[in-house]
């Protein structure tokens, strides 16, 4: 399988709490403009270390984005450390410039080495297994949550994590830099308490709350340490669309 048209998704910490961190500006641009994938910028600006509104590289991809990119053959998971070490060995990495104790690295990586990419590729199964070791997801919940994300992503929304607004996701009709969001997403159907607070909070920030879920929650009682092809097939299978309900509070003066 060819790797040339896929972006590199550099994985750090593969053994323990893996994350995809992207430093390459061209890749970030492509993900955002070409694929509607936002990720979360996590780096502090060196000139304004205290502000936290506009952050810089690296861009962290949330788990659903990673799976979605892999499923659609847009990206390839690569072990960042060993890939770079291998490239250093064959000398295809230009010497970093050093000024005033700062290492300056180029913002984009121009010399991809397809051979080494294939060599250091990480299987999505491994990635998910390692990821789930640090979480309390059940397999079926994990699969369902990804399907909700996939449904929204394939509908063309721009998606950000929604903990700020008390939901699982926030969706934007276009790039969040140009559009306001009008919906927060809550995964799975929840109890009355969460509907009350969720609805209240969403309304107070001029949004509506969307509940998304499957009518019959398909149970898959696998343990999290055995991610096999069946699980991946379940993840990638396109079955029926999830049900969505939007809730808005009325009666606020």
């Amino acid at each position: 399988m060819t790797t040339t048209n896929k972006v590199i998704l550099p994985v750090i910490n593969i053994d323990n709490d893996p994350e995809v961190l992207i430093f390459d500006l061209e890749v970030i641009k492509y993900l955002r403009i070409g694929l509607n994938v936002l990720g979360v910028l996590t780096g502090t600006l060196s000139t304004f270390p205290q502000q936290n509104l506009f952050l810089s590289v690296p861009l962290k991809l949330i788990i659903w984005e990673v799976i979605w990119l892999t499923e659609n053959n847009k990206g390839i998971l690569v072990d960042a450390k060993s890939y770079r070490n291998d490239k250093l060995k064959i000398g295809s990495v230009s010497k970093s410039k050093t000024t005033n104790n700062m290492v300056i690295i180029p913002s984009t990586d121009n010399n991809r080495n397809e051979e080494l990419i294939t060599k250091n590729q990480i299987d999505i199964k491994t990635f998910i297994t390692k990821y789930l070791q640090n979480s309390n997801y059940t397999i079926s919940k994990f699969i369902n949550n990804y399907k909700y994300y996939k449904h929204l992503q394939n509908s063309g929304y721009f998606i950000n994590p929604g903990i700020k607004f008390g939901g699982d996701l926030v969706i934007y009709p276009g790039d969040p830099l140009r559009y306001h969001s009008y919906s927060t997403i809550k995964f799975n159907f929840c109890d009355i308490d969460e509907i009350i607070v969720g609805g209240r909070l969403a309304t107070s920030v001029k949004k509506n709350m969307i509940l998304i879920g499957y009518e019959d929650e398909n149970e898959n009682d696998k343990r999290i340490d055995e991610i096999d092809d069946d699980v991946i097939n379940d993840l990638y299978r396109n079955d029926k669309e999830p049900l969505t309900f939007s809730i808005e509070w009325s009666g606020f003066g």
Partner: protein, 403 residues
């Protein structure tokens, strides 16, 4: 946080709890000892005089009976259906909720006015009307302010006509007046929202009583009361166990009531020390005993709201969230959301941690049969095994708080 105060309120809500302590028919406190004559052991006449006075007081002023509120347990709900009891339980401590009203059972009152079955003067507005009116006033104010701002923008761009300038001046004046009116706190003055118009509409409606409304009126032309007050489980248990001011016909004793309450929260027949009812009740009792008016906080997604005196006097100051130390039942998403909601209504979120005894300690007291003749003492002993501590949780936004 004080609401618009009304002298009437103090009169209506004279009693903080549904208990009347030794008072005569005028509601004045009476100290029996002070009014009794001196008793001289060597003077038989004083004995007689004393007895006459004592008898007089005992006959004239009967001990107020507190035990006249009937609660029925039907379909898993504790109900008060008697109209005077409904009023009493609300006015004396703000217990329960009218099932057809926001909180105070006012459905009948509202419907009487709506169907024009009684002649009322203009000022007799129900709480719901007042709220609706206040909201309408506020939207109206906001609309006018928006218009003024639009015109101001036009003025700055030099696109304004003379007519619009005039309109601007007028709007400005109206807004100033409206602002003043809302500060003084008079309802219905200033804004264009007037009660007269509302009444006209009412009269139009009156000509035709809708079919569904006609079912509400009995053969004598009187309105049938269909509202009842629903008591929370904790409220019921508090009124029975702590105050003993209600009668519940369904249960022979306190333990039976306790078991039903506990089983409402868990399927199993055995009662665990961390049963949600016990935790909820303890927190309820704890704050009630410190003088707070405790009401359900479901509208803000929390367990309880704490009012000073009661809802008509003050807005709630605190929202309580009961935290069970043994089970970790809240995730960060939920805590974030609740804290944001509570913060947006200018209240303080209090996490109340309840420390539970072990199951052995619990069972030892609960199944101890020595105390059978006084169940109250048994529950007192049981509840003393628990400990309560509080933590205030605040949402803090670093980028907004920085100076």
């Amino acid at each position: 946080m004080a609401k618009k105060n009304n002298k009437n309120l103090n009169k209506i809500y004279k009693y903080p709890l549904p208990l009347i302590i030794s008072s005569n028919s005028n509601g004045l406190n009476l100290n029996l000892n002070l009014n009794l004559p001196n008793l001289f052991p060597h003077n038989p006449i004083s004995w007689i005089w004393y007895s006459i006075k004592l008898l007089y007081y005992n006959l004239r002023y009967d001990v107020p009976s507190n035990d006249d509120i009937n609660v029925v347990y039907k379909d898993g709900i504790f109900k008060i259906e008697n109209e005077s009891s409904m009023r009493k339980i609300w006015r004396m401590g703000f217990f329960g909720k009218g099932v057809l009203s926001r909180s105070e059972p006012t459905w009948k009152e509202r419907t009487l006015i709506r169907l024009n079955l009684i002649k009322t003067d203009k000022c007799k507005l129900t709480m719901e009307d007042i709220t609706r009116q206040r909201r309408a006033e506020r939207t109206d104010f906001k609309k006018k302010r928006q218009k003024l701002q639009d015109l101001e923008l036009k003025k700055r761009k030099d696109e304004i006509t003379d007519e619009e300038l005039k309109e601007m001046d007028e709007l400005d004046k109206i807004l100033v007046e409206m602002r003043k009116a809302s500060q003084v706190g008079s309802i219905g003055s200033g804004g264009s929202f007037d009660i007269e118009k509302d009444e006209e509409e009412d009269e139009e409606v009156e000509e035709v009583i809708r079919e569904e409304d006609s079912k509400l009126i009995d053969s004598n032309g009187r309105l049938i009361q269909i509202e009842y007050v629903q008591l929370q489980f904790v409220e019921t248990f508090f009124l029975k166990f702590a105050l003993n001011t209600i009668k519940i016909s369904n249960f022979a004793n306190l333990t039976e009531l306790f078991k039903v309450c506990c089983n409402h929260y868990s399927e199993s027949n055995s009662i665990n020390p961390d049963n949600k009812f016990i935790l909820e009740y303890l927190v309820y009792h704890y704050y009630r005993s410190m003088g707070w008016c405790v009401r359900s906080g479901i509208k803000f997604g929390t367990d309880y709201l704490l009012y000073k005196r009661g809802p008509p006097f003050m807005h709630a100051e605190f929202c309580l969230l009961i935290m069970d130390l043994n089970s970790n039942n809240l995730d960060w998403f939920q805590v974030f959301t609740k804290a944001r909601v509570v913060g947006s209504v200018k209240k303080t979120l209090v996490l109340v941690y309840v420390e539970t005894p072990t199951i052995e300690e619990f069972n030892q007291v609960f199944y101890d049969n020595n105390e059978v003749d006084d169940e109250g003492l048994k529950f007192l002993k049981l509840f003393k095994l628990y400990k309560i501590s509080e933590v205030i949780y605040k949402r803090w936004n670093p980028s907004r708080t920085r100076d």
